[in-house]
Amino acid sequence: MRNTIVERSAQRITESGSNSAESKTQKSSPRFFQFARWFRRTGWRHCVAVVACCFAGFPILYILSASLNQQGTLMSANNLFSHVAIDNYIQLFHLPEQPYGDWYINTIVIGLSTAISSVVVGALAAYAFSRLRFAGRRVGLLALILLQMFPQILSIVAIYLLLTNIGYIVPALGIDSQLALICVYLGGALGTNTYLMYGFFNTVPKEIDEAAKIDGAGHARIFFTIILPLVTPILAVIALLSFIGTVSEYAVASTVLVAPQKQTLAVGLYAFVSQQFSQNWGLFSAGAVLAAVPVVIFFLFLQRYIVSGLTAGSVK
């Protein structure tokens, strides 16, 4: 209640403030002051944004330039865009031993499956931690996060042995199975992500559940039809994080996936430059540029959920 009053009065004040400012600027030298006001409010933000974009973007430009350069060495890209040819991009899809097209599809399929499954599995757990009261709840949550901190490099051998043995029993889940890789990734679904979701679940007032419960809704219904829609933004964030994490994961993917046509982009691309005597930076850069496209699209697609989905009012 108090908040709405505050809000209303705040609104009134900002309105009157801006009115007075406008009337002032109209009196004297309107252009300069308009600019100054614009700069103070949003203009400087653009300056920061441009600087940040330069920092974030120049290595990317460099990769882009290298990808358009046929010379195949990285340093030849120093004169940005001195050669522009799309040969690398064309060649990328005509290598019989390096099926780039397959890698691309695999990466998207594995990435999306992992992202969606992680969100579902993580949200289920987060709901339990947020809404249900049970012994060992806090310790359990902490343990989940801490378990994910085990250094992964050495788990590779364990995962290899495990999948080999599972493969004797269920061949579809053995080494060289993409399904098995997704399962391994799901092993990390409970952890930081769950914690992030847990925090957001907590911001959804319990009264909503209780009201639904009084209306006779079962726990599953409350979870899927009431709670989940309210926490869409965090689900989108988790989906994006886990998609990106999967797309750029190398160590496990390179161990589990053996056949070239089953591998992911990260594994395949690395092979272009891992051999000192047959490095091909042109192909590598072209492949990396294309690899970034789905991530960017996925981000753009989820952006509105991430940024504007969670307005404070709707949850209160």
Binding site: I63, I145, V273, G309, A312
Partner: protein, 536 residues
């Protein structure tokens, strides 16, 4: 369902409401139940299938685990209570199978000497030793052979250099054969009473054939015939002999005896070892080595300090930059935010370890883009000087890591109720005060856990170090293969996978220590941030 449609009395409305509720409840119940049944059916089908396979293989221990797990899972989902288990089981199953197994396995390995020369069982080591100790007798001939089966034993039907045929098996040394049919090339191919193996027969029994040793004569000094391809045989003498009864390896030439002295390899009285050896349990000696070995302690401490610096600075710098940008963009009046955001997210969209490779090129002292173009041809030894290499690693990690913090801060800022800051504005607080006193504390509540786990992730940020500097520049004055930008995990990698003396057991011990350090620091961090408590 609702039959009477008279004028709506209060009672009727209540009834209707109730009926609706029951109906909708029932329909969702059936819907969820169907999904539940299908999913559980799949799980049960999978485990029933694996149970059959396991039974066929006679693997009863795993079989009982699978059956027990399946029963528990079904019980969890069919009973009315136990909501917690219903929500946690899907994630926990994957966690238990993949994460926990890896941790348990590493822990087990940490107590063994698994590594170069100690990577299999004793049985395999013996067979490897015997396999590689076969020496061809100098100057001996190569014999054309056919493999024939007489009764139930396999024999070599050998064409001797002068054309006569001899026959022998593992038990009976070579001797004249009464009569043998020869092919056009003069090679004996069959003999009465025995059937000759075709090439396909050979392939299906190749293990048997290639392991055959046919003595040349009753005198063992003459050596044995052995074939690798089923067509030609050569004379070998074994340099090593294994005496199973006494469990000793004997060198047949020098007569030196090698004993199993419990060090995971056959060892002579003089202390020389045969390799390969086998994997044994070494107790806590790997852990002891981490803390007491003189030559390891120095590098270990140096690396530990840098690892902590690296992860703390990385978290701080990425968070500050990410948050700053999120704040800058947290203004609905600003135009073009979507474009900026998409550009800022780009570093995150490229697989991190691939970008690290590109940065290595960018930072090249004489030819890199940064020195050559951005800084107009200066020679800054970014990756050559120990101090600058550390700075370079931090800059690259800032580039790689700030988009994550940007995303997370952006989300968290949205969740802070606007009216709070507006109320403060009303009270005359300036933007900085609003941020410091209202937004930041609230933000920290939801982000602190992420900062802690980001610390843990950077603590183990192997990809960056491996791809960018590979730990270098190497300090030429230490004996360990450790460079000035090596963090603990990249050092562990070098111990386990690089060089001729790979020590997987020691590396596992290291990784467990790292795990404990990270977990303790993080647990303290969680405590300190009190985020768990506050959110309750």
């Amino acid at each position: 369902m609702i039959q009477h449609d008279s004028s709506p009395s209060r009672k009727d409305i209540r009834k209707k409401k109730q009926a609706n509720r029951v109906a909708s409840q029932a329909s969702t119940r059936i819907g969820t139940m169907l999904i539940k049944i299908v999913l559980l059916g799949l799980v049960d089908a999978l485990s029933a299938y694996s149970a059959f396979m396991l039974a066929e293989q006679g693997n009863w221990i795993i079989l009982s685990i699978v059956v027990a797990t399946t029963i528990v899972v079904n019980w969890i989902y069919f009973r009315r209570d136990g909501l917690v288990a219903k929500y946690l089981t899907p994630g926990l199953i994957f966690l238990l199978i993949f994460q926990l197994f890896a941790i348990c396995y590493s822990t087990y390995i940490a107590f063994t000497d698994y590594g170069t020369g100690h990577n299999s069982t004793k049985e395999q080591a013996i067979s490897s030793l015997i396999q590689s100790s076969q020496r061809r007798v100098q100057g001996s001939a190569s014999y054309k052979i056919s493999i024939v089966e007489c009764g139930k034993t396999l024999n070599f039907l050998v064409t001797m250099p002068h054309g006569e045929a001899q026959i022998g098996s593992e038990k009976t040394p070579l001797h004249e054969v009464a009569s043998a049919t020869k092919d056009d090339a003069g090679q004996a191919v069959s003999t009465p009473g025995c059937s000759t193996l075709s090439f396909n027969d050979l392939l299906s029994r190749q293990d048997e054939v290639t392991s055959m040793r046919v003595p040349m004569s009753a005198d063992s000094q003459d050596g044995t015939l052995k074939t690798a391809d089923g067509q030609t045989a050569l004379v070998y003498k074994s340099l090593l002999k294994y005496d199973a009864a006494k469990d000793i390896m004997i060198n047949t030439q020098t007569r030196v005896r090698y004993y199993d002295t419990g060090v995971g390899a056959f060892t002579s009285k003089g202390g020389s070892r045969l390799s390969p050896g086998w994997q044994i349990n070494v107790g806590i000696s790997n852990f002891r080595q981490v803390f007491t070995s003189q030559e390891m302690r120095g590098p270990f401490l140096q690396v530990l300090v840098w690892t902590i610096e690296f992860s703390v600075i990385s978290v701080a710098s990425t968070f500050v930059l990410g948050l700053l940008l999120a704040l800058v963009f947290n203004n609905s009046r600003m135009k073009g935010r979507a474009v900026y955001r998409s550009i800022l997210i780009l570093p995150y969209a490229f697989p991190a370890f691939l970008s690290a490779l590109v940065w290595q090129g960018l930072l090249n002292e004489k030819f890199g883009y940064i020195n050559q173009v951005l800084l107009h041809g200066v020679d800054i030894p970014w990756l050559e000087s120990p101090a600058l290499a550390k700075i370079a690693v931090l800059i690259v990690n800032l580039w790689l890591g700030f988009p994550y913090m940007f995303l997370v801060s952006m989300g968290a800022l949205q969740s802070i109720p606007k009216d709070l800051s507006e109320a403060a504005e009303l009270d005359g607080a300036n933007a900085w005060q609003i941020f410091r006193l209202i937004k930041f504390p609230l933000l920290l509540v939801s982000i602190a856990p992420l900062l802690i786990s980001s610390f843990a992730m950077n603590f183990n940020n192997f990809n960056l170090i491996y791809m960018l500097t590979n730990g270098g520049p190497i300090n030429a004055n230490t004996n360990m293969n450790v460079g000035s930008t090596d963090i603990l995990i990249s050092m562990v990698y070098k111990i386990a996978f690089v060089g001729a003396d790979r020590n997987y057991g020691l590396a596992s011990a290291f990784s467990i220590i790292i795990f404990i350090v990270v977990a303790v620091v993080s647990a303290i961090g969680f405590r300190a941030s009190r985020s768990l408590e506050e959110l309750n």
